[in-house]
């Protein structure tokens, strides 16, 4: 089971693309921590946000609702939201809650970077 406290890191990858790595339980607190990190990246000019959920095994609907709010904020700013490293259950939850209609889903970080136009080191 994932730890209760979510571990986050946020970086700008370049060319308006940012990434948040989140490992842990995405509940109201975890979702809000991701939202705060996203807000920080938007303030640094990021308009394409990749959320890497490697290490996240369990979520709840309140946490996902906060991710929906991040997505709506990005789309309002003509931005884009993407996810990678989703477990099958998290992917299904996103599908049920409508997140995949507006966000891109990639199997791993490398594929995401490639598809988002960020150079992938050889």
């Amino acid at each position: 089971m994932s730890n209760e406290t979510i571990k986050l890191s946020a970086d700008v990858l370049g060319d308006g693309v940012g990434v948040i790595s989140a490992a842990g339980y995405i509940n109201n607190e975890g979702g809000q921590a991701i939202a705060d990190a996203a807000q920080g990246l938007l303030g640094r000019g990021v308009r394409t946000l990749l959320i890497d959920l490697d290490g996240t095994r369990i979520i709840n609907s309140i946490g996902v609702s906060i991710l929906l709010e991040i997505m709506e904020k990005l789309l309002e700013d003509n931005g884009r939201l993407a996810f990678c490293n989703l477990t099958p259950t998290i992917a299904k939850t996103f599908e049920i809650m409508g997140l995949v209609q507006y966000a891109s889903i990639f199997p791993d970080r490398r594929t995401a970077r490639s598809q988002l136009g960020v150079d992938v080191p050889s």
Partner: protein
């Protein structure tokens, strides 16, 4: 294999039930993906009980491995005001993009992630009974 948890309303208490799912699911031979689906469903049932149940909840887990199709059965019981399962107060599946509320997904997720779900609810007792087979249908 049976476990009964009497859970108080404290932060992240739903993870106690999820941990029990993980332990019993593994003991039954359920694969990780199915265990995680059950865990999310149980977390949602517990959150509903916390939000609407008016106090502590009881979670019962039973592993049935003596049947043709082994399965994990879970009950989440609360003692709140109850609701009509066919007409829940908030239904997230009717949500439209960009419109609130963003809450109310619990029952939808439970029904989608579990194999069988039964809900009995009335004043003073709500019982969500859900089961997941160890293996998907052949």
């Amino acid at each position: 294999m049976e476990v009964e948890l009497h859970l108080p309303v404290v932060p992240n208490v739903e993870l106690v039930a999820a941990k029990a799912v993980e332990t019993l699911g593994a003991a039954l031979g359920m694969d990780q993906t199915r265990v995680e689906a059950v865990s999310v469903a149980v977390v949602e049932a517990c959150l509903n009980a916390i939000e609407h149940g008016g106090g502590s909840m009881v979670v019962r887990l039973a592993g049935h491995n003596d049947e043709a199709r082994p399965r994990l059965i879970i009950e989440v019981e609360d003692h709140g005001a109850g609701f009509d399962p066919e007409d829940p107060p908030i239904d997230g599946s009717s949500r439209k993009f960009g419109c609130t509320p963003k809450r109310g997904w619990g029952l939808t997720l439970i029904r989608e992630l579990m194999d069988e779900v039964q809900i009995r609810s009335g004043p003073g007792l709500t019982l969500v009974r859900m089961s997941k087979y160890v293996e998907s249908a052949p």
